[in-house]
């Protein structure tokens, strides 16, 4: 670029710069304020992050400190340490943890006896004395065990000091049974089961009875005192027999469950409720409905009216006091109905005694077609003329009868039959 042009351009630029001077302070101020905001934001983020990380680490530390304590030992205890044979003793196990806490062990305890000839033990920690001797009973959880030494004493070596019945209070519904346990405490501190040897009795046998082994049977609502006595000691238990809870509906049915009726006929359906006490009774508070009113309709009281040919489900619905909905269904089949029965020949007929005449019945159904239903023939006076399958036979007595046929409740026209000696018709007189 030539110097002259360069000088000219510079002078023009200088003139423009002079007339429009750029404000450096303002530009710098704007830029610095943006930096300030950005740094303040960064500061806040750093501080908040530091606080959050601190909180997270401390929380993690606390959580790690609170790991479950380790089971260190198990202590097994029981109300007594010696039993008479056949006596039962409930053992309990208590765990001691590494943090010094204690808690009773319920589930997951493995019970074992090291001398089954002396005492056995069930999975729930009930020890049963078998024969005199000493047995070690252990409770084990996660490899940690606790031991209890049980002594089974020889019967007759100690005298009875106390008698009690467990449970002392119990409840039962009428008909229910409760097994009571008579336990004796002996002078040597041992326990014995006295169910067999004790004398059991009920002071209120109308409410509850008891058998010779302490099995109580609840009879009627009330409270009964059951006693057990032996060697001059007596113990009692209070048995409360509850009032029987009201029976509840357990099911609903329609009677009949299946029904076949003729077109135009009606039938009364009945809803029957079954109860928890085993009884049944008709249920009137029922909503009836039909699956197809063109086949059969049903009234609010359960009266079915056959309308058209086919099958339909009739449903009964009942809502009990608890709000439970019960439903039952019945299958109804509607068939053709007989609308007319005509017996022919129409007569009147005259028969000699013992002579016969065959009548026929023509049946017409509701759809206009003939059919062959079961037809019942009848004579108004069988002694004059009997009828069977349309065959009319003159009887020994002279007279006149009317023969009819009936099909599905529809009766036919009557055909008159006269029975008597035939009177010769008068002919021409021959000379």
């Amino acid at each position: 670029m030539r110097d002259a042009l360069r000088e000219r351009l510079l002078s023009e630029a200088a003139l423009h710069a002079k007339t429009n001077p750029a404000d450096l302070d303002r530009a710098l101020g704007e830029g610095m304020s943006t930096i300030r905001r950005r740094l303040v934001r960064a500061w806040v983020v750093v501080i908040v992050a530091a606080v959050l990380v601190t909180a997270g680490l401390v929380a993690l530390r606390v959580l790690l400190d609170r790991q479950p304590a380790v089971l260190e030992s198990i202590a097994v205890s029981a109300p007594a340490s010696s039993l008479h044979p056949e006596a039962i003793l409930q053992l309990s196990a208590e765990a001691t943890y590494s943090d010094g806490s204690h808690s009773p062990l319920q589930d997951g305890v493995e019970w074992a006896s090291d001398n089954l000839a002396v005492a056995g033990i069930s999975a729930d920690g009930k020890a049963t004395a078998v024969a005199p001797g000493v047995a070690g009973l252990t409770a084990t959880v996660d490899g940690v065990s606790g031991r209890f030494e049980l002594t089974v004493t020889t019967p007759g070596t100690a005298s009875l000091k106390a008698l009690r019945i467990t449970p002392g209070d119990a409840e039962a519904d009428p008909g229910g049974k409760i097994q009571l346990l008579a336990e004796g405490t002996y002078s040597d501190g041992s326990l014995g089961r006295l169910n067999v040897t004790a004398i059991w009795g009920s002071r209120d046998p109308g409410i509850a009875t008891v058998d010779g082994d302490g099995l109580v049977t609840a009879a009627a609502p009330g409270t009964a005192i059951i006693s057990a006595s032996q060697d001059g000691f007596e113990a009692t238990a209070r048995i409360t027999v509850n009032t029987a809870p009201p029976a509840k509906i357990s099911g609903l049915a329609i009677e009949p469950a299946e029904l076949t009726i003729k077109q135009g006929q009606t039938h009364q359906m009945i809803a029957v409720a079954s109860y928890t006490d085993g009884t049944t009774k008709p249920e009137s508070s029922v909503t009836w409905s039909t699956g197809n009113p063109k086949v059969a309709t049903i009234s609010a009281s359960g009266l079915v009216t056959a309308q058209g040919l086919g099958q339909v489900l009739i449903e009964a619905k009942h809502v009990d006091a608890d709000g439970t909905e019960w439903k039952a269904q019945s299958k109804v089949t509607v068939e053709h109905a007989v609308i007319r029965v005509v017996v022919g020949p129409a007569g009147p007929h005259a028969l000699e005694p013992g002579a016969t005449v065959q009548l026929t019945a023509t049946v017409t159904y509701s759809d206009g077609k003939p059919g062959k239903p079961v037809i019942t023939w009848a004579s108004s006076r069988p002694i004059i003329a009997s009828v069977s399958n349309g065959l009319v036979r003159g009887g020994p007595v002279q007279g006149q009868v009317t023969i009819t046929a009936t099909a599905d409740g529809v009766s036919s026209n009557g055909v008159v039959v006269s029975v008597g000696p035939t009177i010769p018709t008068q002919g021409p007189v021959k000379g």
Binding site: L24, M32, I35, V51
Partner: protein
């Protein structure tokens, strides 16, 4: 594309900060050994030390460069003074370039102020001579956007190589945008072809061609103007 100098994290890791960082980590580890809620004290102290004495000064140094002041406000003031000093020295030169590149004096002023503001905001670390090139680059980008905006507003979409400068009184107005940028930055801002190419995202060869074309046109212009 205007390039900023790379952030130097390592330079912010001074021996003092490293020692403080180690102490902070030691406090956090020690806190981990303290049971329950008591661990909050050493852990919190360690993290707070790390944040306040290590992380925040390091961020400040990366953003603002080294500053003797520990507090933020004085450091910002130092930074502002430093930038003002540099921009003041470059102001005359920058204003010439701005008015040579843009015919509208008012627009040139506004764009130059915007370029200073953006450069102040974007420049990280110590102020080097490269700041001048960066500011010019920002200005050229802003000018290009402005010209595009003008063209789109006026509905002129013919230009393919870049925004056309408005025909004004300046002899440089007869050059294309690329030619004008190349000749102004090369002749008046003393930038090399390579620097101009990097600044305008164009190959150096094309920038050289634009320069040659601009030289030819300006020489012809000078001859024409030299005629009686």
């Amino acid at each position: 594309m205007c390039e900023l100098p790379k952030r130097r994290w390592r330079s912010s890791l001074t021996p003092l900060r490293l020692v403080l960082a180690v102490l902070a980590v030691a406090a956090i580890v020690a806190g981990w050994l303290v049971p329950d809620l008591l661990s909050a004290l050493p852990i919190g102290a360690g993290l707070l030390t790390f944040a306040v004495a290590v992380l925040m000064p390091a961020i400040r140094e990366i953003e603002l460069g080294a500053s003797p002041s520990i507090k933020l406000a004085p450091a910002l003031k130092d930074r502002e003074d430093e930038l003002r000093s540099v921009f003041e020295r470059q102001k005359g030169d920058m204003e010439y370039c701005a008015h040579l590149l843009c015919d509208n004096a008012e627009t040139a002023r506004s764009l130059l102020e915007a370029a200073w503001s953006q450069s102040t905001n974007a420049w990280k670390g110590p102020v080097t001579p490269q700041l001048r090139v960066y500011t010019l680059c920002v200005f050229v980008e802003l000018l290009k956007k402005h010209e595009h905006w003008l063209q789109s507003r006026e509905g002129k979409t013919k230009g393919t190589k870049g925004p056309k400068t408005k025909n004004g009184k300046s002899p440089l107005a007869r050059l294309s945008y690329d030619e004008r940028v190349a000749v102004v930055l090369h002749v008046f801002a003393n930038l090399t072809v390579g620097e101009i190419a990097g600044m305008t995202d164009r190959p150096a060869l094309e920038v050289g061609k634009s320069l040659a074309a601009a030289e030819e046109k300006t020489n012809r212009l000078a001859l024409e103007e030299g005629r009686p």
